[in-house]
Symmetry: C2
Subunit: 882 residues, 2 copies
């Protein structure tokens, strides 16, 4: 049998040879072959690894000869010899499996140094400190990585010597001290590994290669492969690459450059370098690097070569590159190139420019933008560069950052903003409808209780106002107008900052970054829309949101939550009157007071969306949400009883408390809400339907094209929807007759209970459209109350990996996805075009949007601020699955 | 085309001809053909109906001739002629479709009477009152049913004449008054229908037949067919039957008899009769009827004939018969025979006897018993014969009836029972662990709040103690030791009765029926077990329940709820200490106090079930269930603060209130409970596991065969179960080592969250068995919180037919059934023998048990008192689907 080829030079490989050269090796080969001046080197194959392991640590026959032979080529190319006493070739040794494999052996640098050629190298480089430091590092790495000696043993020596000499940093060590360190390191190796530190570079190399191969079977690597379903027989390759030095004189240097400006996206080489320095020196900031522009004057030939390489690399990789280079004795080496990190706005500009430059396609441009980045563009946020220590963390209820004075009272917040133009953060245990004006006035909201669907969270998201809720660590003391976090005390008027995107609370003011929008942004989203199959609507409860949604490119409104409309001022009183009524007549009288407001609300929203569908969900929450809190009321009643101060108020509050108690529910999420209310008290939905249809008729008469879609919440059985649809048509008929005009409308269902998904084919016979309420589907499908779980155990589940994602962030495909699939299959078995949407936060999350695309939804509906990111995600999903 | 046969004599038909003779007609034909002396008659076919309707109300050609011809045969057989002036043949006319069809035309009796033959008949019968009453009834029925005149018009005449003559009942009318009435009725017909009341019997018959046919297409019938998916082209038949009279002299009579004693089941003819009387007279109770025994002496030939007929009928129908008979001029007629209603114990005895008599098979015997009947045997109940007016209605929390004095306090209840041997009903808004001793002492429990899974309901069911809970109408005033229902007032010490089987509350003492058990009962259930494929376990939380379950034939325990074990006396204090702990060490110390109790609990239960599996579910409810009620605590704290009486207690209670608040959940059903607690606080389950295994090891050492099965609640992901199973094996390993003995055990999961059903194949890889928690599956699958819904809207849904059944009573196959099916399919795709059970009340409900059989469960587990009925249902399901 002829010998296999176990060793390849970089120039003998190509990127398609990943399985035998490993990922890193194949990439080095690729770079070499497109003509980059990569420091030369060789790759020992994965096959060699497998045979070595199978033979219990024997290299396959012929491999060592091949290695020697290829190493000679490397020596020739570098003009240096391995082990040469005067100017030795030094190499790095790295592992490189076909798939990325954490847990494998680390890098060894400077391999090839020994006692003798260290001295020769000092002469060549002229920097004793550097060479000796390199040598002690090599011994340390070799001892640790190859000989498996605890790294701490070496650090202990360094620390001891620094202490003895009263030094604070490694930089202060002297070459003499290094001599001592090197000797001690060698002693450690002798005592711990039982061998002399090998002086023969070939022996060093052989041992390093063996160590890489052996590391394939260390415990960390094995566990990683098991968890990630990676085959055990892939094996790893070993990369042996010549080291180059930018610090061998003034004809040397090191630098980093981006092919475009990573901050603005401007198409102009951007970077910096230092003469006679290593890469670390550029980053370390001890000397101030020069702009890459200067290289044009200082080393014009090198600059031209580098510029050309940059252009070539960008063309080859078809993306902005982040390039590390070193100049060793007037020769340019490219050490690394990779896609460069960039700001959100740079990402957008670069993608758009590259399409215009014919470098990438529109589809590629759309795929280049990370959804998370777009989101950051949409909200002001705390400067990620700032070095801040958060005080506490709550739930990320509504994104964006805000800063302001601590104010505990809504009235006071409103007043301060009005009279003094103050910036305030409203801090409450929880918010209630009574706090709305304070929330409007505040820059942001911070609560100590409540979850992602608490009043504070929902209202804040609706307003696009930053909010952190359920911040458990906060102990609020209203009486003294203070709050405590551990032993820290914050008083009314103190400045704080919150970041609703991360959930962090900071003391004092923090540096903020404003949202950046641009024409490129619009261009990119326009392209996105060309690819998307799933379209994007917005959730909007008022004309302002509707307007904003349109600006952000929503094609309609997917969810108007009517309950918030009941919460404002005078309406709340009428609502409470309705709830506390004993008879249908009393309820109708109270509802009649609310009707004109509702009609105006619907009129104004519909008017903002001419020609576009507007889905209006009828009243959903349980009635007790409109009543005072039971605990507070109990407290008040007990107080009134004990003090005997105000007997008539006591009586009134006692009556209210009884009503609140009788309406209280153990599990309101699964209680008397949604269409169950509509069926129990038909007069409530009758009022809402009339308000919608009267608004519609009025707009039609005024010449507007409007498309209201009535949505029934919490339907579980076709019999419910039959009743509700009939009522809708009856009320519409009356209004058409009264107002003497016709108008279009649809009647559909929010599928948010598992049973509804199973009965979707039956319910479809009474419906024009369905929209998934995946928040409730998640709560019921997983048996997890969002508000209760997120602060209490869900984070533990995600942190410990019991659940891969927070199911309220990413759709749980196992159950929620399956329920969606079943519902779609059932409804479309009757009508292949049956319309499906999703409203709720999943509709704005990339992984979930991808699922929505796969499963065949027609639209997602998200808060106005998430419309752009959702448009992008819809396009990316369509491109990925085209 | 030859004429079809449109008219059949009873003797020309048979029961297989249902589609053309209708159900009733085919049955009359059958009775005639097995030789019963049924009053003769004829049937006009459904085909005739269809052709008549198709021809817009024309009888098909030849039909009228056939009718005349067959009627002559009837005349001959009865020895009376239709329309005869002296002794006319009278007939009844009834509709009879192939399927039972409410909404069709009612019966017309006495057809054939007219002014002339009425007089002749008076001479023959010798009872002017009866004949004239019969005639006016005929006119009234004819007017109402055939001519569609409002029945109230006729009733108004009767009322007026009674008022004019100051009479109180129809019985007081005189023959002279009937003459007036008859004339007025005829005027009504003339004025309203525009025709003279037809005096020609043939005309009367023709019009009646047309009316029956026309009623096939009336609105009620059409709607009924649509709802029930009955084809519109079935048509209805018409039954025309000779009327016979038991009141034509002393050679006449009427009676009712059962072939066996319907009260005891004794195999002896049982019945009563009256000479010279109609059937109604026997029932009406104006004259006292004679026992059927007397007929042997009074009319020996008739008696013998009747006795023979009874024997024949029982053999033919293979069931105890309820037979109506009439003797007209020494000739016996059988008017009706049907399966006789019987008491529960009679039903069991008859079924068992009939098997012994080789009359029916064991399978038939098993199918003969209504599950509902068996249930009644199992509990004392309120005498259904008693004429009682309930005061209010709550939820049927725990079956059985109880009576006793109203007592509002658990201590007082206990004391009264101990010192005075009193019977008390404990009345509370809700019960808590502090009330347990009072519940034990009381005859029954009544609460104004809480649902089917409230503390009161669950504990009462466990004790087999009658309970009515969530009785909204009750307004309890503890201060004055009274409760109110509307304007009724009840005080401490007043007697009340409750029926946990119906949910009714009664004032005062009510007559009770005690449970009746018998050997026959055991025999029957023994047979049932021979057929059943699904076996029956019991839910038992203590040794008493376990013992009872065994007596009732349970093959193991399917659910031990460990949480109730934490609620008693000293354990509750330790539990609260555990919950309020800040560190794992503190928690472990508190748990260590509970451990010995738990171990004894498990020891005692396992000891009662030698050789049988015992499934023990680890702690399930959220921790706040073990803490005081938040509202009561708020009240106490506010009171202490206002009065300033006891500052140190105030401080202590304030600390407790903060803890209770921080543990409070918005939707505890979907919150931090079940295995989520076990994963968050591993020390809790560690304690329980140790208690189980130590008890097991001890029993094994004592020579018992025990099979504990550890069940993890609320699992949604295999990763949870992986952790929990590992912990169980670790603790078991420790105990085995410490106690030096081996023992068997299983580790499984309660599938009670939709996600768990979808992930059943994954979870199965870490489980030995699954048990469905269909209560929670129903709550999550339908989005309905049981405790909240049942008092608030679920009853409306069931009453209005939106849902066919209460899904907490009957499994909702659409979603819960489907989730079960999916889980079974997934788990058994890996292991076709994978064990599945169900625990919870669905397992004791016939329709649900049938589904459990169909879907392939291995066992159901129910409260001890439901074990017998479940055994029966399992057998019936197996027989039905064999």
């Amino acid at each position: 049998m002829a010998n296999k080829n176990y060793v390849y030079l970089f120039k003998e490989g190509k990127k398609e040879m990943k399985s035998i050269l490993g990922g890193k090796g194949a990439n080095l080969a690729e770079m070499t072959n497109i003509g980059l001046p990569v420091p030369t080197g060789l790759i020992i194959t994965t096959e060699c690894c497998n045979e070595y392991l199978a033979a219990d640590g024997e290299f396959p026959r012929g491999m060592e000869e091949q290695l020697k032979e290829k190493l000679q080529v490397v020596e020739q190319e570098m003009g240096k010899n391995f082990g040469d006493e005067n100017n030795p070739l030094l190499v790095s040794v790295r592992s490189g499996a076909p798939v990325s494999m954490p847990g494998m052996m680390d890098t060894i640098l400077n391999l090839g140094l020994n006692d003798k050629n260290m001295k020769g190298l000092i002469d060549v480089v002229g920097d004793e400190w550097f060479v000796k430091d390199s040598y002690r590092r090599f011994i340390q790495m070799f001892g640790n990585v190859v000989l498996d000696i605890d790294g701490q043993d070496f650090e202990d020596v360094l620390d001891r010597i620094k202490t003895e000499n009263k030094l604070e940093s490694d930089q202060q060590l002297t070459p003499k001290m290094f001599d001592e360190i090197i000797e001690e390191f060698k002693s450690i190796i002798l005592s711990q590994a039982g061998i002399e530190f090998p002086q023969d570079p070939e022996e060093q190399l052989k041992m390093a290669v063996q160590a890489v191969f052996d590391s394939w079977n260390n415990d960390r690597a094995k566990v990683y492969r098991k968890i990630n379903n990676i085959q055990d027989d892939l094996g790893t390759a070993v990369n042996v690459q010549a080291m180059v030095f930018g610090n061998m004189g003034d004809d040397c240097g090191s630098g980093v450059a981006f092919t475009r400006n990573p901050s603005t996206g401007e198409n102009k080489l951007y970077g910096e370098y230092l003469i006679n320095a290593q890469g670390e020196d550029v980053v370390a900031g001890i000397r101030t690097p020069l702009s890459i522009e200067n290289l044009k004057d200082q080393m014009p030939k090198i600059y031209d070569e580098f510029f050309e390489i940059c252009e070539m690399l960008e063309k080859h990789y078809r993306d902005m590159q982040d390039i590390e280079f070193t100049i060793e004795k007037n020769k340019l080496y490219i050490l690394q190139t990779r896609s460069g990190k960039r700001t959100a706005s740079a990402a957008v500009k670069i993608a758009v420019d590259m399409v215009k430059e014919d470098l990438i396609s529109k589809a590629e441009a759309v795929q280049r933008i990370e959804p998370q980045q777009l989101e950051n563009i949409m909200h002001s946020r705390i400067d990620p560069e700032a070095d801040l220590e958060p005080v506490a963390r709550g739930l990320q209820a509504s994104p964006g950052a805000a800063k302001g004075m601590i104010i505990f009272d809504a009235d006071e917040a409103e007043q301060l903003v009005e009279t003094e133009n103050a910036e305030v953060i409203l801090v409450r245990t929880e918010t209630t409808p009574d706090d709305i004006h304070g929330m409007v006035a505040a820059q942001g909201i911070l609560t100590s209780r409540g979850g992602m669907t608490s009043h504070a969270a929902v209202v804040a998201r609706g307003m696009g106002k930053p909010a952190v809720v359920g911040c458990d660590a906060l102990k609020i003391d209203y009486t003294n107008q203070k709050f405590y976090v551990g032993d820290k005390e914050f008083s009314k008027g103190d400045m704080i900052s919150i970041d609703g995107g991360t959930g962090y609370l900071y003391g004092g003011e923090t540096p903020m970054i404003d949202p950046e929008l641009s024409d490129d942004f619009d261009t990119l989203l326009g392209w996105a829309d060309e690819f998307a199959r799933v379209v994007v609507r917005a959730n909007a409860d008022n004309p302002t949101d509707a307007k904003r949604a349109l600006e952000f490119g929503a094609v309609g409104i997917g969810l108007v939550r009517t309950e918030h409309m009941f919460m404002e001022g005078g309406r709340l009183a009428a609502m409470q009157e309705m709830i506390l009524s004993d008879t249908t007549e009393q309820r109708e009288a109270a509802l009649a007071k609310i009707m004109p407001y509702q009609r105006d609300d619907f009129y104004n929203i519909l008017k903002e969306m001419p020609g576009k569908p507007v889905t209006i969900r009828l009243l959903d929450p349980p009635l007790h949400e409109f009543l005072p809190d039971i605990e507070e009321l109990t407290e008040e009643v007990t107080e009134l009883r004990c003090t005997g101060k105000d007997p008539s108020r006591l009586e009134e509050r006692e009556i209210l408390l009884r009503s609140v108690r009788s309406l209280a529910e153990l599990n309101p999420m699964l209680g008397h809400r949604g269409c169950r209310l509509g069926i129990h008290y038909p007069e409530i939905y009758a009022m809402q339907l009339r308000a919608i249809f009267e608004a519609t008729a009025k707009l039609v008469k005024e010449g507007y094209e409007v498309f209201p879609e009535i949505e029934m919440p919490l339907v579980i059985h076709v019999n419910e929807q039959k009743k509700l649809r009939k009522q809708a048509f009856e009320v519409a008929g009356e209004v058409k007759k009264e107002m003497g005009t016709d108008f279009p409308f649809k009647v559909g269902v929010m599928l948010e209970v598992p049973r509804a998904c199973y009965a979707a084919d039956q319910i479809a016979t009474e419906s024009d459209f369905f929209s998934f309420g995946t928040n409730d589907l998640t709560q019921m499908g997983l048996g997890v109350s969002r508000d209760d779980a997120q602060g209490k155990f869900l984070h533990v589940y995600v942190e410990e990996g019991i659940l891969e994602h927070d199911p309220f962030v990413v759709i749980d495909r196992e159950v929620v996805g399956e329920l969606m699939r079943i519902a779609i299959e059932k409804a479309r078995s009757l009508d292949p075009e049956f319309e499906f949407g999703i409203c709720g936060e999943h509709g704005g999350e990339p992984n979930s949007i991808e699922f929505c695309h796969i499963v065949g939804l027609d639209y997602v509906s998200v808060s106005p601020y998430r419309v752009p990111v959702s448009r992008l995600c819809c396009a990316q999903a369509a491109i990925k699955h085209s």
